[in-house]
Symmetry: C3
Subunit: 166 residues, 3 copies
């Protein structure tokens, strides 16, 4: 076991901690704590519409105030994949299941991915860029998140007999 591998094991843990703290802070609506996880000049894009994009941590904090329109949320983070791309820099992909409830009790769930660029600063790992992709959502979710692209079937593909109606 060499030192670089150990360092990456440790850094993977630190990066995962930031991903998890984002969820904790968002579900508590502790926006200052959330925005401290990003670099000062971060770029964040949840979808193609302007109100879903931010430049800079202060701007992000203002933008995420929109989450107060939900009465309750729960962000479940998993499938963390870290790829170190240079000294103090990493590409990170994770999955999130985000459940949201409106004041009227109706709910909206999105199944998505965060595609992040992390950088290591003096204070620790921070998110420099975040782009969200949507694998799918239930019918209650109506925000225009960037859709994941899927490889289409080969021409003429037919479902197997056993799967009919299932």
């Amino acid at each position: 076991m060499n030192d670089e591998r150990l360092r990456q094991l440790y850094d993977t843990g630190e990066i995962t901690r930031v991903l998890n703290e984002y969820c904790t802070a968002l579900d508590r609506m502790d926006l200052p704590r959330l925005c401290a996880l990003f670099t000062e000049d971060c770029l964040v894009e949840y979808g193609p519409e302007e109100w879903l994009q931010s430049r800079g941590a202060a701007n992000l904090e203002n933008s995420l105030a929109r989450m107060w329109r939900w009465a309750r949320t729960s962000h479940h983070l998993s499938n963390v994949q870290v790829e170190f791309t240079g000294d103090g820099e990493a590409r990170v992909q994770s999955y999130v299941q985000a459940w949201h409830e409106r004041p009227d009790g109706s709910s909206a769930t999105i199944f998505g991915q965060y595609h992040d660029r992390f950088v290591r600063q003096d204070a620790g790992w921070r998110i420099a860029e975040r782009r969200m992709l949507m694998n799918g959502s239930d019918s209650g979710f109506a925000v225009n998140i960037n859709p994941l692209e899927r490889i289409p079937p080969p021409e003429g593909w037919q479902p197997p007999a056993g799967a009919a109606g299932r």
Copy 2:
């Protein structure tokens, strides 16, 4: 990479193993195996009502027999955050999505957090205290779990135009 960091990496893995084994044992209703993950004198509180609180592993085993009222359950554990607070002691927060199905086929899902105090004993890391918080739930879930407190919006806050109806 110093020895303390390595030790904490290893201990984080061991603590996560205990969190996961709780889920596996609960979904199989293997209560002896589940209760062996707690200290003899553990304190466990899922909610403010007495039937949702236990003192001691034997008492917990009796109390969790209530889970047989569900026909099937699935506990998905994520967002594990470990903070070492002393020699052989840690504060641990995790998220859980707990799906439950009644014998009549109706279901109930809770989105919650476990706030645990772990201690290291001769046999390994054990849960000494567990308090559950509820981020939210679907309408099928009717048990009075401790609610997560959320920071309220600043006075006069209004949702952004783009979010109207979404």
Copy 3:
């Protein structure tokens, strides 16, 4: 901290990476990438019916083409438990929440477990055997996945008063 423990920490990370890449590849329907995570002679069984079983990575790739009958999917992987059973071999259990959406917009969710045997090959850790178990599912899911067995309650067990109707 001895060398074997460090090696297992590192290997646990590598095995988790394979579990996560399976989900990413499946949700993108990148079947060649998915099948490269398995050994050439892998055995994969999602359920007791023949169309849910595969022998060999090429056969698996053909079989999983059935997933194109869904319009969108999202596989959330958690609760990873690794047990090293020999040099370059491990038993691995994980949980998955798999959401599927049909072209008509209806959906199906399964809450399940993967029970895997991993082996370390020259190119890295690969899945040699995978057996899926189902903790449960919503009413939209109609595929015959192997059910998880649950320990039944002791004879004469009655739900506690506080749980009545909940």
